[in-house]
């Protein structure tokens, strides 16, 4: 039964980010980053990046703190995983009607991972009949995944394994987690504090990564790392400073893993493992090796 459920977490479907200045955050998300603004309700602003109704919400309620949405296969999977999480010591709370509406989903269970990051386990997140139509040609194809800060890797791995994720590769103790054919949709970065590290959006190709890189330079938007390429997943990335210390990333070209069973590979904790092109993040401790190359 548990192995059949192993794939029942089907996608990372949204991020909700708490921001102090909602309007400034919204300007960044739409005018700079290239998301499509779609709705505003209860002080939240929702943005699209693909066929889903929304993949990003900026949340003005600071007590809320934001969350990451993980789509479950169906109600039965939600029930089963919720029960397993409860048994493993991760208390799960059923979301109220209004909490579900605020998340644009039919049902949800709210839980915290081992580090205390808020994770929403959701069923039937809303899709949109209209295609994604952004205000700027950033070349975004889809919301791809997230990086999470972890202060308790062991507990967090227990948590994500219950959701059906498995480690695809390691860089030092950074764990890339696979939930579908992509090399990873979630990456856990050991850190001094918990929280969302980055939200990654896939673009069409290298052209868009580079065009966005020059676009940001011209507008003096801080590039935190990149253009670069992850050694383990081969994914090209550009990490940008978003509102309130958040990181928004453009990505492309991640390795697609086949059906064939494979063992996670161990890469050394070195800047070369984090970027094989040679980019180094000067400002984000989780994205760099403090004393240079190993």
């Amino acid at each position: 039964m548990s192995s059949a459920l192993a794939s029942l977490a089907t996608s990372i479907c949204y991020v909700r980010l708490a921001v102090r200045d909602l309007d400034a955050g919204a300007r960044f998300a739409s005018e700079i980053f290239g998301l499509q603004r779609v709705a505003q309700q209860d002080g939240d602003i929702a943005f699209r990046s693909d066929s889903r109704f929304r993949t990003v919400s900026l949340v003005s309620d600071e007590a809320d703190g934001g969350s990451v949405g993980v789509e479950m296969w169906d109600e039965a999977a939600l029930e089963s995983i919720s029960q397993q999480l409860n048994e493993a010591g991760f208390p799960v709370r059923r979301a109220s009607r209004s909490e579900c509406e605020r998340r644009y989903v039919e049902a949800a269970s709210l839980v915290r991972d081992g580090s205390g990051n808020s994770i929403d386990l959701v069923v039937r997140p809303r899709q949109s009949g209209r295609r994604y139509f952004p205000s700027r040609d950033a070349g975004i194809v889809q919301f791809h995944g997230v990086g999470l800060r972890t202060i308790d890797s062991a507990r967090d791995l227990v948590f994500w394994k219950i959701l059906g994720a498995r480690v695809s590769d390691w860089v030092g103790d950074i764990a890339y987690l696979q939930i579908d054919e992509q090399h990873h949709r979630v990456a856990l970065y050991p850190a001094a504090r918990s929280g969302l590290l980055y939200s990654a959006f896939e673009v069409e190709g290298l052209d868009q990564i580079m065009q966005n890189s020059y676009f940001m330079q011209e507008r003096q938007i801080k590039i935190l790392q990149g253009p670069g390429r992850e050694s383990a997943s081969h994914q090209i990335f550009l990490h940008l400073q978003g509102p309130d210390g958040s990181i928004f990333s453009y990505v492309n070209g991640m390795t697609v893993l086949g059906e064939k069973p494979r063992r996670p590979r161990q890469f050394p904790f070195a800047n070369e493992s984090l970027c094989n092109w040679g980019s180094v993040s000067a400002d984000v401790p989780e994205l760099r090796v403090a004393d240079g190359r190993a």
């Binding site: 065009q211 676009f215 390429r229 092109w277 040679g278």
Partner: protein, 288 residues
């Protein structure tokens, strides 16, 4: 008509061969083929050499193009002389220095020193780089032109070059299937504007960007992508202010018979579709 087959080598004068060697091996990533007292031969592919430094004036810059055989060489000499170009017939010793069977030298209408060569040497051993820059070979040159319209006529009517695309009046010209082997660049004097080596992949272009930055080699343009040839590129400065380029993914002209040159406007996005701006490298000046 003079049938150019490919670009063969570049010869550069330099007052400081030691610096040239340090750059060529430590930064550019070429292989030393031969080191003489006053010469340095460098390889980038299976040819015996594609770049030669000799001690001297850095304004001495020569481009060699391969042609079919010695008969064609004689015909070319006659053609050029008939047009009023002074033609220098290479001596046996000079040919040996160039590792070719025979050659002639002349100046194009701008005054660039050009050599036409027969049977440039190849090497049995493969090129083995000193730095992993991913170089697959010497590919093309940017050539100064004081009058691009006149020089386009020379290269396309006296020689067999064909225009693949134009940016303003600047022609990118091919002599084989590769999008361009000669890129004319408007400039006040003769000279080689840049020397291009192809690399294996996008990764190599971006890696070199970070490596060369770390080595404090001035990056003068890129990383970027030319909308004309489709190539991803990086331009940087070497000894004596010579500009070198890495690029990957230059288009091939698929149908020689039906290809028509496209006209690109004279504007930054015609040189880079990613938005890179030249820094410390003059783009061909429209009105110079």
């Amino acid at each position: 008509m003079i049938q150019l087959k490919d670009v063969s080598y570049v010869r550069l004068g330099s007052p400081d061969l030691e610096s040239a060697e340090t750059f060529a091996t430590g930064c550019l990533g070429l292989e030393i083929a031969e080191r003489g007292k006053k010469t340095l031969y460098l390889r980038s592919d299976d040819r015996a050499h594609t770049l030669c430094y000799s001690e001297g004036d850095p304004r001495h810059q020569t481009v060699g193009f391969e042609i079919e055989d010695e008969d064609d060489l004689q015909t070319a000499a006659a053609t050029l002389e008939a047009l009023g170009h002074h033609v220098h017939a290479g001596t046996a010793e000079e040919a040996e220095q160039r590792k070719v069977k025979a050659f002639i030298g002349f100046r194009d209408p701008t005054g660039n020193h050009i050599e036409l060569v027969v049977r440039p040497e190849r090497r049995g051993r493969r090129y083995f780089a000193t730095r992993d820059a991913g170089i697959t070979g010497f590919s093309h040159i940017g050539l100064n032109s004081t009058d691009p319209v006149r020089d386009e006529r020379f290269w396309t009517q006296v020689c067999n070059a064909r225009v693949s695309d134009r940016i303003g009046d600047i022609p990118l010209m091919r002599v084989n299937a590769i999008h361009h082997t000669i890129a004319l660049v408007r400039a006040p004097t003769a000279g080689i504007q840049h020397i291009n080596h192809q690399v294996e992949s996008n990764d190599d272009v971006l890696r070199s960007y970070y490596v060369l930055n770390e080595k404090r080699v001035p990056i003068v343009f890129g990383p970027g992508r030319h909308p004309t040839s489709g190539a991803r590129f990086l331009y940087f400065t070497g000894p004596d202010d010579m500009i070198f380029e890495y690029s990957v993914g230059v288009d091939e002209i698929e149908d020689e018979a039906t290809h028509r040159p496209r006209q690109f406007g004279f504007e930054p996005s015609s040189f880079c579709m990613w938005g890179a701006r030249p820094a410390g490298m003059a783009l061909p000046d429209k009105n110079a």
